[in-house]
């Protein structure tokens, strides 16, 4: 690991002021420290933001929740109000990583974790995300677990976060402190971007931007929500495909719904076409399958990951069925 200087920011503005070339914000370190060991990240300075005061889960006046960026993943997952109002979020968090990692990992860090594409993590290989312009060996190489939606010539990586898939379904807002003490609110989906020609940019954040909180809007029917994740083993593994869904059904008809997919794209994927196809339909397998097909019509599987298309379809249908 390359030598680096360490400093602890007193508050968000101080952290943003301290940020500059060669510096990285440090949350729980579960991804960043790992990437530093691998040589993928070589910061000269770490600015520790894990002990900033953004460490609470609070009710908003509108009836939603505001979750500080430094709250640990395990504390979000076990938060009483999170479990009661947004079960999909608690389930998504518990489906990710291990108990040890969830105790370290922060909400802000979870959102900004990097892809686990094996070429990105191996500095001996070309990778447009790590070394722009060097090429993407995954396109013709090992891509069984990479993207089927929204990928580009330059990059076929997937976003690894489970939490972000739930936040995308729920329509969360990400609060960001930027240079000059500016505040911004970025809706999800909208924080993470598709790779296009610039896969080195995972998100729309600007240099210096610091995530301070995630806000969940009031969504009373999200009490009927769930996260289902398919992995290569029963636990402690990244998603092959995952689905976050919430369903508002009355008299057997879908009044509203939220569906987002994980493990299929460079960003958590809001299934807006599926949602549109499902609203007003009878809540049942036929309508769920038609909605899934409406979304997955845009899928462009690679040579070895075509299996993810029927898998995603089946996981969408099963998740929605369980919510009825």
């Amino acid at each position: 690991m390359r030598p680096f200087a360490y400093e602890r920011a007193a508050d968000a503005d101080a952290a943003v002021r301290a940020m500059g070339d060669g510096a990285r914000y440090l949350g729980g370190g579960t991804n960043l420290v790992d990437l530093m060991k691998l040589g993928v990240e070589t910061p000269e300075r770490l600015i520790d933001v894990a002990r900033l005061a953004h460490d609470a889960i609070e009710e908003t006046p509108e009836g939603g929740l505001r979750i500080g960026a430094a709250v640990r993943n395990s504390d979000v997952a076990t938060g009483a109000l999170v479990r009661e109002r947004y079960p999909v979020l608690a389930q998504a968090l518990l489906a990710g990583a291990s108990g040890q990692l969830r105790n370290l990992a922060t909400v802000g860090g979870n959102l900004l974790q990097r892809t686990r594409c094996s070429y990105f993590q191996d500095v001996s290989k070309p990778c447009n995300k790590r070394a722009p312009g060097s090429g993407c060996p995954a396109r013709e190489g090992e891509h069984r677990n990479l993207a089927i939606l929204g990928h580009s010539e330059a990059c076929v990586a997937t976003h690894p976060s489970d939490m972000a898939v739930a936040l995308t379904a729920l329509g969360a807002t990400v609060h960001v402190r930027g240079r000059g003490s500016t505040e911004r609110a970025i809706p999800m989906p909208g924080l993470h971007r598709l790779p296009d020609a610039e896969p080195q940019r995972d998100t729309v954040l600007e240099p210096g931007d610091l995530i301070t909180a995630v806000e969940l809007p009031p969504l009373p029917w999200a009490t009927r929500s769930a996260y289902r994740k398919v992995r290569e083993r029963a636990s402690f593994s990244f998603a092959v495909v995952s689905v976050a869904a919430a369903l508002d059904v009355s008299d057997g008809v879908v009044r509203d719904c939220r569906i987002a997919l994980g493990g299929v794209a460079h960003a958590p994927w809001r299934a807006a076409r599926a949602e549109e196809a499902l609203r007003g339909q009878p809540a049942g397998e036929d309508a769920f399958a038609a909605a899934a097909d409406a979304e997955l019509a845009a899928a462009q599987p690679l040579r070895d990951n075509g299996y993810k298309v029927p898998l995603a379809r089946n996981v969408i249908v099963r998740t929605l069925q369980e919510l009825v």
């Binding site: 030598p3 790992d34 291990s98 040890q100 370290l104």
Partner: protein, 156 residues
């Protein structure tokens, strides 16, 4: 770059000067002489380095020591009470919950925290729940059935 930090480890205060790159795992093993926590993968994937940081289980291989200045650490060496094994340690022996033993310190620290987490959440620890909560601790000898039995024994 060097940094001076203070940690309370198994009840004793330690003032240590470390390179900022030092993880808690390396600090324990190389600077404090506590070799109970093991280096397996060194990437947070195997759980053999699990310790308790301020009472919560964590992979010490991914925790930078400098970021945990002032923390209270418990390692496997701190689980016994004045030479008397903790109920979980005794259950691991009773149930033969290991073969080579390399993952055992991490299993014990992790399981100690699992019992506390389940109490705090009022969750029932059946075999499936134990397996899910212990998923971050790999045992290449495959002693899982006996590890689960040992934890279930103490949980009940």
């Amino acid at each position: 770059m060097e940094a001076e930090i203070t940690l309370r480890i198994n009840g004793d205060e330690h003032r240590v000067s470390v390179d900022t790159r030092t993880t808690l795992l390396d600090l324990l093993r190389e600077h404090v002489g506590l070799t109970g926590a093991k280096k397996g993968c060194d990437h947070g994937q195997c759980g053999s380095c699990t310790i308790l940081i301020d009472g919560r289980r964590a992979t010490s291989c991914l925790a930078l020591a400098v970021a945990h200045d002032g923390a209270e650490l418990t390692t496997v060496e701190g689980l016994a009470d004045d030479g008397e094994l903790s109920p979980l340690q005794a259950a691991f022996i009773e149930h033969d919950a290991f073969q080579c033993g390399y993952c055992t310190p991490g299993q014990l620290c992790s399981a100690t925290a699992v019992l506390a987490e389940a109490r705090a959440e009022d969750a029932t620890l059946d075999a499936d729940e134990i397996r899910e909560r212990m998923a971050g601790n790999i045992c290449r000898c495959g002693a899982y059935p006996n590890i689960v039995a040992a934890i279930a024994d103490v949980a009940s």
